[in-house]
């Protein structure tokens, strides 16, 4: 059990390191270093930077050193919570990101809960009533959810909301709470806006989960112990829910690891279409403006949070699945 946790933890740390390298590469990618960008920006606003000042800036950020030294400098500062300055906003990156990161997490988490909430009962139903009309309908809806990219789904829903109900679906807060500080009222307001984007995000992942659940449960239902339970006169719902569903849940739980990166990715695009105040629109804007410290930090933080989420889901999986707890890999 300890070996398993250590193994997972090790992998998580390596992944975080890989993500940090990728983020650093993204920061470095645009031509010229960021002092050049800084100088151009200042020149555009009318103030000039002298050559000595530019040199001082370069030295401060270690831009005259080899690349791995620069990476080391950057990552050591990041480790202390200093993510650098946003060129476009003229404020520390972490201030610019602010609440947006948490809202991204809230939306992704809600989407995963909804995915589970939809996929579990439907998966069970589809397996128990295999080849029924409802089974076919669910399968079809699932496939459509899989096939429609979620930004497209958001666009279509937004259009029909506008056309049929004259409703502007975008945003996560009503106008009066837009810039208000956090309060119970603001949280409640968010809760009211949350279901729609979360549903849109959830639909794409649901199809696959339904299919996994259905296939797993079908395998279990054919086992002799189910017949035994039935023969002993257990009520049908107990026959199904008590044993086969529990056994079928294990592979189901392990899918959360891939679901999380998928949902976080989706949230970026859906946020853009529905103008949700998550890191999505900020990331796009920073990339277009080549505000690289901001962009790199967003990629880094999203990646790290996803890894942490996956690690936690591994722990949950261990808690559910006795085979992993006892050190066997199943």
């Amino acid at each position: 059990m300890v070996t398993y946790i250590l193994q997972r933890l090790g992998l998580a740390l390596v992944t975080i390191w890989a993500i940090s390298v990728v983020s650093f590469v993204i920061i470095q990618l645009p031509p010229g270093d960021f002092v050049d960008t800084y100088i151009t920006n200042l020149a555009a606003s009318g103030s000039a930077v002298r050559a000595e000042e530019a040199q001082a800036l370069r030295e401060q950020y270690g831009l005259d050193k080899p690349i791995w030294v620069q990476y080391w400098k950057w990552i050591s500062r990041v480790a202390t919570g200093d993510f650098g300055m946003s060129m476009e906003w003229g404020r520390p990156v972490i201030e610019v990101i602010g609440d947006r990161l948490w809202l991204t997490i809230v939306i992704s988490f809600a989407a995963i809960l909804i995915t589970w909430g939809i996929a579990l009962p439907i998966g069970i139903y589809s397996a128990v009533r295999q080849y029924s009309v409802a089974d076919y309908i669910f399968t079809f809806v699932g496939f459509v959810g899989l096939a429609v990219p979620n930004f497209l789904l958001a666009l279509i829903i937004m259009y029909f909301g506008f056309k049929l109900f004259d409703l502007n679906i975008g945003g996560l807060f009503s106008a009066e709470y837009q810039i208000a500080p956090w309060s119970a009222g603001k949280v409640w307001d968010m809760m009211k806006h949350l279901p729609l984007p979360a549903m849109i995000l959830a639909l794409a992942g649901t199809a696959q989960l339904i299919r996994i659940m259905r296939a797993n449960l079908l395998d279990e239902l054919r086992r002799p112990y189910v017949t035994t339970a039935r023969a002993r006169g257990l009520p049908e719902w107990r026959v199904i829910l008590k044993y086969p569903v529990r056994a079928a849940l294990n592979p189901f739980a392990s899918t959360i690891g891939y679901l999380l990166p998928f949902v976080v990715s989706g949230s970026i695009v859906v946020s853009l279409v529905l103008s949700l105040p998550t890191v999505g629109p900020l990331l796009l804007r920073s990339l277009v403006a080549q505000d690289m410290f901001l962009a790199g930090t967003i990629v880094l933080l999203l990646g790290i949070l996803t890894v942490i989420g996956t690690f936690l889901s591994d722990l949950i999986l261990m808690w559910i699945d006795p085979r992993i707890r006892s050190g066997m890999h199943g």
């Binding site: 992998l11 992944t15 796009l284």
Partner: protein, 378 residues
């Protein structure tokens, strides 16, 4: 293959049909099973039709996809009238500009008195057919007047460009991005998955961990970061290549997983041991004996990877980080439909969603059918 055949000839217990199955290659078996899967076959035909459409894109287009006319912006889709005085003569009404006395803008409206008859194989803008020869023939045109002035099957966009024609060319771009991307992913996937499955041990562990790491990173922010770094000065072709490379750099993991799994399973098979004992070289074992027996799995995995590639390109271009105008792809077209204001004025811009959804669904059904067919125990 010759040994069971002679045996069948001497023992009457084996019927001709069984003999056919026994002698069939893995690909043939897969194909026979696949044929029974009606939905998958229909989807396969649909996919082929789409690719034929992509090849003939210029021929199917009506007007030059870049010919703009600001005066004709946001013309709604025209309806085709099939009969004229009881005879089958498809036609559209010509558009007549009238000055709106309130806004003083010229508003185009169909004029029922001016009928333009549709013509097959009509002349239009000239293009190069597959780079082979120059021609100006198009599937549809008008008997008189330029189609640029009157024929808008799916309406026009803000710049007055014909949505139908642009959709045809966008289909070509988006479908080929998928193909090129998958080819690259396949190369990486077979190479790394093959090495992983064949050698096992430390190499396998390293490659597997690498795949796990790649899969645990949210892809869209990563793509966005990489795609945004492409220089603005790059040509359409350079951006196109770069985007496919970026997408396939992350997309190969699933293919590698399939290939590795197959290699691991086949390594223990008797026929591989037999080939080894017979002194066949490693390369010969891989390409002559192993690859043919899991080729159908690869085909299935590829047809499931293609729609993912297409979605990736569409998403990136939709965000403005993928292909950029003047390139035309589904994502580029959908960019015009991005905000609710534009959709309120011109809902027909959303029509691009239809081929996207159909193609992706068809690929998924096709891939599912192929996967079922490739796996006799599934």
């Amino acid at each position: 293959m010759s040994a069971p055949a002679t045996q069948a000839a001497t023992t009457p217990l084996v019927t001709a049909a069984e003999e056919k199955i026994a002698a069939a290659t893995q690909l043939q078996l897969t194909w026979w099973r696949f044929r029974k899967h009606k939905l998958a076959v229909a989807s396969g035909i649909l996919v082929v039709l789409f690719y034929i459409g992509a090849i003939l894109a210029d021929f199917l287009a009506v007007t030059g996809p870049h010919s703009t006319d600001a005066a004709r912006s946001y013309i709604p889709p025209q309806s085709i009238h099939w009969y004229d005085d009881g005879a089958f003569k498809p036609h559209v009404y010509a558009l007549k500009g009238k000055r709106d006395m309130r806004t003083f803008k010229i508003v185009y409206a169909p004029d029922p008195s001016d009928k333009r008859y549709l013509q097959l194989f009509a002349r239009g803008y000239s293009y190069s057919f597959l780079g082979l020869f120059e021609t100006d023939r198009h599937l549809l045109g008008l008997d008189r007047g330029k189609p640029e002035d009157a024929l808008f099957l799916l309406g026009t966009d803000q710049l007055g460009r014909d949505v139908w024609s642009r959709l045809m060319l966008a289909t070509r771009t988006s479908l080929t991005v998928g193909l090129v991307g998958v080819a690259l992913s396949l190369f990486l996937g077979v190479l790394l998955g093959g090495i992983s499955g064949l050698y096992g041990g430390v190499v396998d562990t390293v490659i597997q961990r690498m795949i796990e790491i790649l899969r645990s990173i949210p892809t869209i922010p990563l793509w966005m970061g990489l795609a945004a770094a492409l220089p603005n000065t790059w040509s359409v072709t350079q951006v196109y290549i770069a985007i496919t490379v970026i997408i396939s750099l992350i997309g190969w993991t699933e293919l590698a997983r399939v290939v590795r799994g197959r290699f691991l399973a086949l390594r223990e098979e008797d026929f591989v041991t037999a080939a080894e004992l017979a002194g066949a070289s490693r390369l010969r074992i891989i390409f002559r004996h192993m690859v043919p027996s899991f080729l159908s799995h690869i085909i299935a995995a590829v047809s499931l990877a293609l729609p993912a590639m297409i979605i990736s390109e569409t998403t990136l271009s939709f965000l403005g980080l993928g292909l950029r105008p003047p390139a035309i792809s589904w994502g580029v077209l959908l960019q015009d439909a991005q905000n609710i204001q534009a959709l309120g004025i011109a809902p027909w811009l959303l029509v691009v969603a239809v081929p996207v959804i159909i193609v992706i669904l068809a690929f998924n059904f096709l891939g599912d059918g192929l996967r079922d067919a490739a796996d006799p125990y599934g």
